[in-house]
Symmetry: C2
Amino acid sequence: MPELEFHFDFLSPYGYFASLSVEEIAARHNRVVSWCPMLLGVTVMKVMGLKPLPETPLKGPYVLRDVARTARQLKLQIGRDLKKPPSNSLVPARALCWAKVHSPEAVPGLARAFYSAIWARGVDIDKPEDLATVPLPREIAAPELIAAAKGQEAASLLRGSVEESIKKGVFGSPTFIVDGETFWGFDHLGQVDEWLATGGW
Amino acid sequence: MPELEFHFDFLSPYGYFASLSVEEIAARHNRVVSWCPMLLGVTVMKVMGLKPLPETPLKGPYVLRDVARTARQLKLQIGRDLKKPPSNSLVPARALCWAKVHSPEAVPGLARAFYSAIWARGVDIDKPEDLATVPLPREIAAPELIAAAKGQEAASLLRGSVEESIKKGVFGSPTFIVDGETFWGFDHLGQVDEWLATGGW
């Protein structure tokens, strides 16, 4: 099946929103979702040379309000103070990259479990041991995942994934790519759906 | 009638897209559009401390593609090379601010005429004399508008309008404000419509 590439950072609440419907949209068009973790810290700060969004005047405060408003519209509870985003997403991103190789069928469930922990329940997943607090898909055991998140393989897989995203021009979370066409932003997920339904324009 | 504030820069193709439907959406909800020119150069560079969008790695090239794709979706012809955006929007922005005071009934037609000249026909409106090339609403004569665009009053009105936008947290074009609720981006115009239809959430 052709892919719907879903590039996202676990730090990104808009990525969380998209994670809840991307599988359904892909399935409707006989696409398989490729879950591609990226790191906003690398793209935004290092590649684009911008400051982090929360520190950007005018836009930072707007985004806080927009995230809360979007969550209300989607009838989602956000389980954390939006002003205290998770400090980094290296651990879940590495764990997911490892799972893509070693337990691919568990990837969508694992990604949603991480997102739900971070944004719906407000749990921080900063250290490999924190992975034990997440309800994992049955294909994956916590000790195995914790060991993987500490290892070189997962770190190297994530570096490759981030480089690949940047090479494809991905700069924000979420970004969707179908047949080489790139759509940035949760607000564009409807447009992706329309693109797939119509074959593009 | 309560307002739907529409903040935009004539430099912004997304502002152009919004300008084509904002009056219809406002009318559907018994709102009157307040056309508020702002200057991205001031908000983005001076207030936010960011580089101009076209010079931003990854995002700059993406936006060019997204604008072209959005235009195709809306069945709009863009009459200029997107890589050569208008150099600045001071003249049409000043002229519009002047019209808001001296010929308010002409404002929607004038704003759309400027947008259409710049984006549909690819005409530059950099100098006050360029205003003579724009088909103006019948309430306004070209010589009068040219003189106004050269004058202190229009410059001062625009400065006030830009300051007011920034005070309200506006940072991008287009931005919509209804009853103190701010929505950024052409992609959010549908959400504004829904907000007005439902009374918000």
